[in-house]
């Protein structure tokens, strides 16, 4: 092979390697979920309304059987995202439409409502501060931001109901619980939130799969200045 041939062979190989690396980074390493922005939707300092739903099986995407959160963006659309951008030091009014059934908690400690305004949350209009996860249908998920001490158990629906929701986004025609609570957003930063219910069915301790994947049962509260 001539000098030029060898040089171009090397350059081609180099280009292939760089291309493969870039492809890998773009495809596998940066699939960050879409950020749903709530900062511009209302007047400065006014409370932010955050409406989310939890669904037992998302029904689409790469993992259709996985349990997941969805969020209603300021335009009223249900979006499959768990990264929510909210303003700092602002009251956040959270409404959770809970479509998933429940189970006992691994650690009943997470039946305690913590860190919300007033230390309570409401289940279909009834205020409570401790929920017994061995009761009734148990707890489906908890919405918890450990670093600011927020934790709210999301009560599960009756698994034997005839109208359980099978695929997201669910509408209120299906059996569901409405949970409401408020909290004050902390200072700017990215705050991980997660669930403390072993809801990754089919994974050891129930904490694999959706529980261990961003955009299903965990995400960030992206607090903007």
């Amino acid at each position: 092979m001539s000098f030029g041939g060898r040089l171009s062979t090397f350059l081609v190989l180099l280009a292939v390697a760089v291309g493969a690396a870039v492809y890998a980074v773009v495809t596998f390493l940066t699939p960050n979920p879409q950020v749903v922005d709530f900062t511009g939707a209302q007047a400065v300092g006014a409370p932010v309304d955050l409406t989310v739903q939890t669904v037992g099986a998302i029904g689409f995407g790469k993992h259709p059987t996985w349990v997941s959160y969805l969020v209603k963006d300021p335009g009223g659309q249900w979006i499959h995202s768990t990264v929510w951008k909210v303003p700092a030091h602002t009251r956040i009014n959270v409404t959770v439409e809970q479509y998933d059934s429940g189970s006992p908690l691994r650690n009943q400690q997470w039946g305690l409502v913590q860190g919300t305004t007033g230390g309570t949350a409401s289940l279909n209009g009834t205020t409570f501060s401790v929920y017994n996860s061995y009761d009734a249908n148990g707890v489906g998920h908890t919405f918890a931001i450990p670093t600011i001490g927020l934790n709210v158990p999301l009560v599960g629906v009756d698994p034997n109901a005839t109208n359980t929701c099978g695929a997201a986004p669910c509408t209120t025609n299906y059996v569901h619980n409405v949970m409401r609570f408020s909290f004050t957003s902390p200072g700017p930063g990215e705050y991980p939130w997660q669930c403390f219910v072993p809801c990754g069915l089919g994974f050891l301790y129930g904490n694999g799969g959706p529980m261990s994947t961003i955009n299903y049962m965990g995400g960030f509260l992206d607090v903007a200045a």
Partner: protein, 320 residues
């Protein structure tokens, strides 16, 4: 390979033996001066600030241990560095006066040097192992997890047991002597010997109370005990130091050492305010088996005969 290859000229005009510098003594002098300066500098200036500080007995002892090790290690490092530096400067081929190296038996082995080397390293190493063992034992396990059957137990008359429960991805704490309430805050009394009982509800975590110098892995169904005695008031960091999954990096919180009286009132008050939840918690136990459904997460087929964990544990059996 043009300028540095050895010159083939074989007949170096060998100088009189006395002209040869006494390399060993030169190096020794440099080394002893450096060591004599740097060791005290480290011990007295840096030493008191070496992590993990002096907040607890284990922290203070481990700091001392680190400093002793460093004071011994520094001269060892310096010895090698001085030697390397000296050789590189003195015996480089490009030096004009560099004599040809001499081969032969003398350059291959030197029984005295070899024996001295092995003796010195062995003595250092054995001393360090002995010293480490001494520190480990007289310090009741040095704040490390001793497993379920600790053999070096503190002799204090009052030991406060605190249970640390790791789960993905948060530590919670139970205080068995206060009705077994569970909390997310780790508050400790000052001047008290504390026994941390570390366990896990799922995968392996590691409870690392940094300033307390406590590190104990949290294994499911294992009660891993670590001791320390608090000495100073203040905040400390708790981090998970064993990779436990997605939110491992976010698995931290802050604890506080407060005066005894303040601790007591905090504990009694928390016992009252969380009473409703404490009733729902499983009875206090050193390890927990979450109920069958939660334990397997649906991974193991619990319905296949003749296997079901509930046969062994009873349904929703929380304690062992």
């Amino acid at each position: 390979m043009t300028d540095t290859a050895p010159t083939p000229s074989a007949h170096q005009p060998a100088g009189p033996p006395s002209a040869e510098p006494r390399h060993f003594w030169r190096m020794f002098a440099i080394w002893i001066v450096l060591s004599a300066i740097l060791d005290p500098l480290f011990y007295f200036l840096v030493g008191p600030h070496v992590p993990p500080g002096t907040m607890t007995s284990s922290a203070a002892e481990n700091q001392l241990d680190f400093n002793i090790l460093f004071v011994i290690a520094l001269p060892v490092i310096l010895a090698v560095w001085v030697y390397l530096g000296y050789s590189i400067i003195m015996w480089r081929a490009s030096r004009k006066d560099a004599p040809e190296p001499v081969g032969g038996e003398a350059a291959r082995t030197n029984l005295r040097v070899q024996t001295a080397w092995i003796t010195v390293t062995s003595v250092i190493v054995l001393f360090l192992a002995g010293f480490g063992t001494y520190e480990l034992i007289q310090n009741y396990g040095a704040g490390g997890g001793q497993g379920p059957n600790p053999i070096w137990k503190p002799t204090a008359s009052h030991i406060l047991p605190v249970q640390v429960i790791g789960q993905q991805w948060k530590f919670t704490y139970r205080y068995p002597t206060y009705g077994g309430f569970e909390t997310q805050q780790l508050i400790l009394p000052a001047d008290t010997t504390i026994a941390f009982h570390v366990t896990s509800l799922d995968v392996i975590h590691s409870f690392w109370a940094y300033q307390l110098s406590i590190k104990a892995d949290a294994n499911p169904q294992v009660d891993n005990v670590a001791y320390t005695t608090t000495r100073q008031l203040g905040r400390f960091t708790v981090r998970c130091s064993e990779l436990c999954g997605l939110w491992h990096g976010a698995m931290y919180n802050f604890g506080q050492v407060v005066p005894k009286a303040q601790f007591d009132s905090w504990a009694r008050q928390t016992e009252l305010t969380t009473a409703a939840n404490t009733r729902l918690l499983p009875p206090f136990a050193w390890t927990y088996v979450p109920d069958a459904n939660g334990a397997g997460g649906g991974y193991y087929n619990n319905t296949v005969d003749p296997y079901s964990p509930s046969e062994v544990y009873g349904a929703r059996q929380p304690a062992s």
